[in-house]
Amino acid sequence: MNKSPVISVRNLSISFGRTTVVHDLNFDIAPGSTLALVGESGSGKSVTSLAIMGLLPERIGRAKGSIALEGRELLTLSEPSMQKVRGGRVSMIFQEPMTSLNPVQRVGDQLAEVIRIHKGLRGAALKEAVLDMLRKVRIPDPEVRMHQYPHTFSGGMRQRVMIAMALACNPALIIADEPTTALDVTVQAQTLALLKDLQRETQTAVLFITHDMGVVAEVADNVLVMRRGREIESGTVHEVFSAPKDAYTRSLIEAAPSLVGKFAETRTPPQPVQGVPVSYAGDAPVLEVNDLTVRFPVRSGFFGRLTGMVHAVEHASFAIGKGETLGLVGESGSGKSTIGKAIINLAPIDSGEVRVSGQRVDYGDPQSLARMRRDVQMIFQDPFGSLDTRQTIGSAIMEPMLVHGLAKRAEAFEKMQWLMERVGLDPARATSLPHEFSGGQRQRICIARALAMSPKLIIADEAVSALDVAIKGQIIDLMIDLQKEFDVSYLFISHDMAAVERICDRVAVMYFGEIVEIGKTEDVIGHPGHDYTRRLLSAIPITHPDQRGKRPLPSVDLTKPRSPIKPLEYRAPPPSWSMASEGHFIRSAS
């Protein structure tokens, strides 16, 4: 390294009480370069960043060794001097854009605070500085937006505000702690590109914390892989990706989405077709959704007048065959979760019908609803929130069987024990409470609970999105195995294209409440026909740093952003479809 490093960490050990969580860590970051700190949750990477910021929990957390920022030792710095460093010389972008901003303070004021503290600006100059930063991170209408509260911003916009805050005082080092994990792929790609642009301009050093090797391949100059608080491998990004020394690093690289090179341009020009195409595997569909529309009213003004409707789902039609998996993909707000909710009566259906095993579900009839609830089970995203914290897991798995009167207590108990074994849990732990299990194990419990009803269809709403890469792979494998054994169908709702590619037979792509493309997984991913599908696919991170710049960057939609909120009198133009190959249909741009 020819330039002196911005930050130099030597023999850093961090302990909480008597447990040491980080052992003997060493690294340097040069100006303008990016070090990726990689590892699964609990590997000590976030704790390391908190130690640099001096934000370890008071009285419990202790850091030993040396952290030198621009030659100045941070670990022995007094709290008032540390306050000048925080936000001034080192700033941080956190994982959760939804909760990292103060909900009761205007966005502009929150951004102004950091500038006022470190640059001492006041009045008009301060306002101009805030506007300038908001423009830099490309917030539309900054003059209006600065006076609004965070809840009116989307996740991607909030993360851009966080980036603006981090960059506002020209820090020497930015710590980005999983800054894009909570974002959609398209938003992730835009956010990463923005961060890179701004870094190039300011020559800031970046410590990038992530578990996603795709993101590492995209942004890092150097990589440090951590496991259980220790460094297990480090080097330049090319060294680590081309010749990983450790088996753990290899498994992380393999777990990253691997779609690059799989997609080509459409083979044959699609032929226009008449009517709504519906297809499925096998003889009879397990689930049919015909022309489903879900709208939510928008009321506004002092009188609360009905001024429009959110078109959450518009005329969606699809079917799933026995033992088949259909993926429903799209960014957040595209209506994919709403479809799942509407099927199990958690969202109001405006028009259209749902058929389970050929029988129409009558949402006004308790008997029909009970039948549907037996045949259709759901697995949710958050394995921590979807289990009752005071109910033993055995009881949680047995409850649906008992509620629906499918089994007597003894039978239910036997089946519960058997199911726990099937999903890879020790039946002896049936009397344990949910908090004694890890995230992956809890998701296994949820799967066992869903299977207890011998359902025909399981709706998995982002079921693996909250899990670590390695665990995610295990759960997907488990779902595939169980599908073969029980011949159950899945509706797999996800924004994670790699997971979708692995588990789904067919994929439907959703964009602003409409299905824009549907077909076999290899057709849709290999030969995407719709513009939006292409944008979605090109936003997926690369798998090797050599591929940088070789893929078209997802163009930011320059046309006026579409809004799902439509005026009351709005009538959608009738959709027109074309067929690219057998069972692969593409909606024409309207």
Binding site: Q83, K84, N102, H151
Partner: protein, 313 residues
Amino acid sequence: MLPFLIKRLGFAALTLFCVLTLVFLIVRILPGDPALVILGDQASPASIAALHKRLGLDQPVLVQYGQFLLQAVQGNLGNSMVTGRPVSEEILAVLPYTMELTIAALILGVLLGVPAGVWAAVKRNRLPDYVLRFISLLGLSLPAFVAAIILLMVFAIQLRWFPVISAGTGETIADRLRQMALPTIALALIMMTYITRVTRSAMLEVLSQDFVRTARAKGASPATVVWKHALGNCLIPITTVVGLYLGILIGNSVLTEIVFSRPGLGKLILTALTQRDYTLLQGMIVVYTLMVVVVNLLTDLTYGILDPRVQYK
């Protein structure tokens, strides 16, 4: 916003109607003939009948009820059975004293309780936290009049800093405040214990949230983080408790006013009870209800100012 207001005002009217009915029934079920109370045990049957007629007690109950509702809607709560003066006049004469006391206690309680709660949360599981938690537990378990009597004995009788009788009739403002001081402190101490507890628990939750970490990562001073970012997000639970407690406070003021021989609703309701002054009693309960309903509505509207995410539907 408007549909919300209309709905809430409708609920308020319904609450008042229920209370009016309940009050009417309860007073009539209570034992004891008011005529006997007014005229004494030795009264002749003729004079009792005459008085019944004058008070309207000879009418069928349903007629009495209809009359009562009709008059109440017009703001006429009837005449006191004892003094003969309009009930509304009797109440309005003493209402300012109770309002003065309640509001002063409220302000003092918030000024003491919120900082105490914040301090306890920041110093969690250290000495200040333990001390404040002990004090607030003590305050919760101590009846209002006990605190009042202790204050009276120490500061009025032993130390003679404040007058024993708080007549509420001082010439200067300083004089009035001096008279109000002890009853206000007695009420505010209990208010404070509630606010301390709710502030502490709300702060503990907020302090562990992501945006507090963001504020610290910005380089904001600990004071800014605690008072601006964290406390700003605790105001809703605090407001809820203040609103709820305001109702209790009005009730508590009854005993406090008696201990300090202070004019106010408390003294008035005691008089009405001992004299079986049905109409005055009815009127007072209606006024109490009205105050609680108004306070609740104001609390709900305050939420919208404190938290931009609150939407009225």
